[in-house]
């Protein structure tokens, strides 16, 4: 064989050996194979998957991607009072030509804010270079104005995402994989764009190109509700417009004192492409806290620096979650109704100087009965003076007789209180929390000049009917 091979080069080209015919057939076969793979290779995985599913079905296994029928209806589990997650760390990571992908002139203004939660979940939020270099919390790195203007963050190589778009990962490894994939993808695409001879294109086609990263899990947009906004923008608002109101603006008001949501008309819509849910978020304003209007709860609302509310609906437009967030001056310990001044905004308390507490109340709506209660509560906001978002609603540590929504929050909502010390700019801090809500990010933020020093969550009701605070160590940064 070796002699025959050697003779190929020396013998001249006047005759062809059998070996050459065999080699020619092999080369032709390779080319035919390449053509077949090229034109159908992209669907090979799908075909293989279908084939495997068919075999499984024949062998008696379950069919793939088919929902199992006759499943028992979900029952409402007993309340686990511990909130699911609480942000513990935060840092920005700039993706630009100097740092991450040194060889690419891309992403001058592209970056991620990486956020890690206690349950291991990691989120990347697209932002631009104007903010990623700044110190401070989430809000200081994100600009609500840019969100409202629909600013695009350019990552280079023709890839751009809406400002504030967020990717959610199960863990840090998954997030790291995505970032590496993005780096590799951008590098390949950028090289391909500058490939002047076609050599790299051929190589990439032979080797296989890196897939682009998956689209963001959450796409964020902001809009302002004006008259007949629902019809104009084609959006399904989280509740019906006020039928008696002339403006048609969702208008959640309180009669005596409490929080009024939706007054600004500015809403943020967060579409989660992974779950198919849509969340609307808006800021609230304290109503009735001025001295002239001092009522039974007015003092408790004095310390409120900011508040937000979000309503989440699933792909079938059913409400699945209600979240109320308030930022107040004072400590996290104690309860609103127990009369402790430092949680109600006693500004003269020297011990609470520089302390801010973020309270997050989350109600997972799982049953039709709960859903009906929430819908009634939402519908009542505009017209019913008793349908107030009272302190007892967003901090439901005790049962308020006759208030069905408050009762629902009391029995089913998780409530966390995270206290931050050394907050120099309390209003700015509260604004950051609001922006966090607007961007669909969980709160309890740690900044360079403030630290989470104490955290509690409300336990299930005790024998005396009170939900007492329990230490929430996961939410306190080490």
């Amino acid at each position: 064989m070796r002699a025959r091979l050697r003779s190929l080069g020396l013998r001249g080209a006047d005759g062809a050996a059998t070996l050459e015919y065999a080699a020619a057939i092999a080369v032709a076969g390779l080319f035919v194979g390449a053509v077949v793979v090229t034109f159908s290779g992209l669907r090979i995985e799908a075909i293989a998957e279908r084939a495997i599913c068919s075999v499984k079905a024949i062998l008696g296994g379950s069919r793939c991607s088919v929902t199992q029928g006759n499943q028992p209806p979900p029952t409402a589990p007993p309340l686990d009072p511990k909130p699911k997650k609480c942000k513990i760390t935060e840092h920005s990571e700039k993706v630009n030509s100097e740092i991450k992908i040194a060889f690419i002139k891309i992403g001058e203004n592209a970056g991620f804010i990486e956020t890690t939660y206690t349950d291991g979940t990691v989120t990347y939020t697209a932002t631009d270079g104007a903010e990623v270099g700044l110190t401070g919390g989430f809000g200081s790195k994100l600009d609500i104005g840019k969100l409202e203007r629909g600013v695009q963050v350019d990552f280079g190589a023709g890839m751009s995402f809406e400002y504030g778009s967020t990717w959610v990962f199960r863990n840090a490894e998954e997030a790291e994989e995505m970032r590496e994939q993005l780096d590799k993808y951008l590098a390949e695409q950028e090289t391909l764009r500058h490939d002047t001879s076609g050599g790299y294109a051929i190589y990439l086609a032979l080797r296989g190109a890196t897939d682009p990263p998956k689209p963001p899990t959450q796409q964020v947009s902001t809009f302002e509700v004006e008259s007949e906004a629902g019809a104009k923008v084609g959006l399904s608002l989280p509740w019906d417009l006020d039928p008696d109101g002339e403006s048609g603006v969702p208008n959640l008001t309180l009669a005596e004192a409490g929080l009024k949501f939706g007054g600004s008309g500015k809403w943020t819509q967060i579409v989660d492409t992974r779950t198919g849910t849509t969340t609307w978020a808006t800021g609230g304003e304290v109503f009735g806290q001025l001295g002239a209007q001092a009522g039974p709860v007015a003092g408790e609302l004095k310390g409120v620096l900011g508040s937000s509310m979000s309503i989440t609906r699933d792909k079938d437009d059913q409400i699945t979650k209600v979240t109320l967030v308030t930022t107040r001056e004072g400590r996290a310990t104690g309860t609103l109704n127990s009369g402790q001044n430092d949680l109600g905004g006693n500004l003269s308390d020297s011990n609470s100087v520089g302390m801010v507490t973020v309270t997050t109340t989350t109600l997972e709506v799982t049953t039709n009965a709960q859903r009906a209660s929430v819908n009634n509560w939402l519908a009542a906001q505009a017209n019913d003076a008793d349908g107030a978002v009272s302190p007892q609603t967003y901090y439901p540590d005790r049962l308020v007789p006759g208030d069905s929504f408050q009762n629902l929050m009391y029995t089913n909502a998780t409530v966390s209180n995270v206290q931050y010390s050394n907050v120099s700019d309390k209003q700015g801090f509260a604004a950051e929390v609001k922006i966090g809500v607007a961007f669909g990010v969980d709160f309890s933020l740690e900044t360079t000049d403030s630290r989470a020093t104490d955290a509690t969550y409300l336990d299930v009701p005790g024998p005396d009917g009170a939900r007492l605070p329990v230490q929430f160590e996961d939410c306190v940064a080490e």
Partner: protein
């Protein structure tokens, strides 16, 4: 035409004495030629492209200096030229035909690779861009032909020297 230069070059055909009626066979055996070109040129080009890209991408040079992608085509042409030069041995009078056929195969192979690549890249959402292959084709053929030619000449001289 009688070669009047003296001493004769080793590359020149041997002067045949005593057989005035003998004629040099200039006919080209097309079938084995095409077959051998087919076996040699496309694999060499693919191998050269992969090797070149691996070299460039592996060193990180390509990602810093995009214009170096042309080196991939150059390496492809060099490898193809070496393969043609060593695996085909045309007579002196057939070199031009062989070189033209090799160039044709090189060009055809490049075009086929370009089409397959663009189809595959389009499947991944990459916009087609055909012009880049023009320079690549020129580089491949431009490198392949002179290299193969010089190898043929060198080998011919070498074998003539051995005969001498």
């Amino acid at each position: 035409m009688i070669n009047s230069s003296w001493p004769p070059s080793p590359a020149d055909p041997p002067i045949e004495i005593g057989t005035p009626t003998a004629r040099v066979d200039n006919r080209v055996a097309w079938r084995p030629l095409l077959l051998r070109m087919f076996v040699v040129v496309p694999p060499a080009q693919v191998l050269g492209t992969v090797a070149g890209a691996q070299l460039m991408a592996g060193t990180g040079l390509l990602e810093r200096m995009h214009w170096l992608s042309a080196v991939i085509s150059v390496i492809s042409g060099v490898l193809s030229g070496l393969a043609v030069g060593f695996f085909l041995t045309p007579g002196v009078r057939k070199r031009r035909v062989f070189a033209l056929v090799a160039a044709g195969f090189g060009l055809t192979t490049w075009v086929v690779l370009a089409v397959l690549s663009e189809v595959r890249l389009a499947g991944w959402g990459v916009e087609p861009y055909w012009y880049r292959y023009v320079l690549g084709a020129a580089l491949v053929v431009g490198m392949q032909t002179p290299i193969a030619w010089s190898i043929w000449v060198s080998r011919s001289r070498h074998s003539a020297a051995n005969v001498g």
